[in-house]
């Protein structure tokens, strides 16, 4: 764990929540870089957390693009117009690409989702660095509220196949009967979308990125599908693949008694004068 910056070192930073509380007390503006799996960046302004970025959950950009709210071209133009990336949110709203309230909802949703994703693993190291621009549109959240919300989410996901972290790691696949007519008919559209992506290859994170939805929201839907028995943890293919080995007793070594050995089967050979074309018949 390292710290940088011109201010005095933060004494109470034994873990990331404690560090954020210390930053809140000092009303610091900085970026906390967290390493580990998944790791990420925490953007703090005047002691309040305004944004988080982590590979463990879709960020604002991913939510805007993958959900189809804005196009790649429009996003590229916005980024080109603000090379410092300090006013991306204002530019998005000013161009009418997304409403101010809508962007605020997405910004807060992505912030809490990233906090949840970061909480699923113990970070390796963290360091306080100078603030860097980050796309966000919210007034900031206290570390206490972040912690409360993360705890609520982890409690909601408790159950089979274990903790929230275990569920996040589990690759789920739909059960064979899920595809039968009428089985998934009573599901809301978002559950059916998630069900369609449970192919045993991706985790909840992969599905969240594919659909442009939050990680926790997808995990809530997966929990619902698990409870209804429509998905199940995917086991390795080696464990469920039917054996193709020869059944029965192993072949005995060749016996010296040639009479007991089966006669070798040879391919039929064509002999001259046989299998010739038939003679033409009178009516042909």
């Amino acid at each position: 764990m390292t710290q940088s910056g011109t201010e005095e070192p933060l004494a109470d930073s034994r873990n990331v929540p404690a560090l954020l509380s210390a930053l809140r007390d000092r009303a610091r503006s900085c970026t906390v870089r967290v390493t580990g799996a998944p790791g990420g960046s925490i953007h703090v302004r005047d002691g309040l957390v305004v944004a988080m970025e982590t590979p463990g959950a879709p960020g604002i950009e991913g939510l805007l693009l993958r959900s189809g709210r804005i196009s790649e071209e429009a996003w590229s133009e916005v980024r080109a117009s603000d090379t410092t990336h300090e006013h991306l949110a204002a530019e998005l709203v000013a161009r009418g690409l997304v409403g101010a309230g809508e962007l605020e909802v997405i910004s807060l949703g992505a912030l809490f989702d990233a906090a949840f994703a970061l909480s699923l693993a113990v970070p390796d190291t963290w360091e306080v660095a100078d603030p860097v621009p980050a796309l966000h549109r919210n007034a900031g959240v206290t570390p206490e509220r972040l912690l409360d919300e993360v705890s609520r989410r982890i409690n909601l996901l408790a159950g089979e196949p274990g903790s929230a972290a275990a569920l996040a790691r589990t690759r789920l696949r739909s059960v064979p009967t899920a595809g039968l007519p009428g089985t998934a008919a009573g599901l809301p559209a978002r559950h059916q979308q998630v069900l369609a992506h449970t192919d045993g290859r991706g985790t909840a994170r992969d599905i969240a990125f594919a659909l442009g939805r939050g990680l926790f929201a997808v995990m809530m839907d997966l929990r619902h599908l698990l409870d209804r028995g429509l998905v199940q943890p995917h086991t390795s293919s080696a464990g469920i693949r039917p054996s193709t080995a020869t059944r029965g007793a192993p072949t005995a070594p060749p016996s010296t008694a040639s009479s007991a050995a089966p006669r070798p089967v040879t391919l039929p050979r064509r002999e001259p004068g046989r299998n010739s074309a038939p003679e033409p018949r009178p009516h042909d």
């Binding site: 959900s67 309230g101 809508e102 605020e104 997405i106 807060l108 929201a217």
Partner: protein, 116 residues
């Protein structure tokens, strides 16, 4: 003050509406709140129960609203469809100061402003 707080604050100027909160319909996350929201704490769970049970019972279409009425107030929950997971606008309505129809009309108008 955020744009969400501004709109929710305007909703409270409607006679009889004493509290409003904007929630995520899937995660239950509170995006903004204003006034007395003590009655709206379980709104997300109630809406989810209504949604899943109605669908399971064969009802078609998306959930639009849930109204829970006590002897003194209505707890109104409007589902706001959007691209992505829907939101819930929950409001506490005093039965002695307004009627449900008027409150619903006002809330729908503010709902349109929320995500603009």
């Amino acid at each position: 003050m955020s744009s969400l707080d501004v709109v929710l604050g305007r909703a409270l100027t409607v006679p009889g509406i004493s509290g409003a909160v904007l929630l995520d319909a899937v995660t239950g996350l509170t995006y903004a709140e204003s006034g007395d929201v003590s009655g709206s704490q379980d709104s997300c769970e109630i809406a989810e129960i209504a949604r899943t049970r109605l669908t399971r019972a064969g009802a078609s279409g998306e959930l639009e609203s849930v109204v829970v009425t006590t002897s003194t107030r209505h707890l109104v929950t409007l589902q706001l469809p959007r691209r992505g997971d829907p939101l819930l606008l929950c409001a506490t309505v005093d039965r002695e100061r307004t009627n449900l129809t008027w409150a619903l009309r006002e809330l729908h108008q503010h709902a349109d402003e929320l995500l603009a």
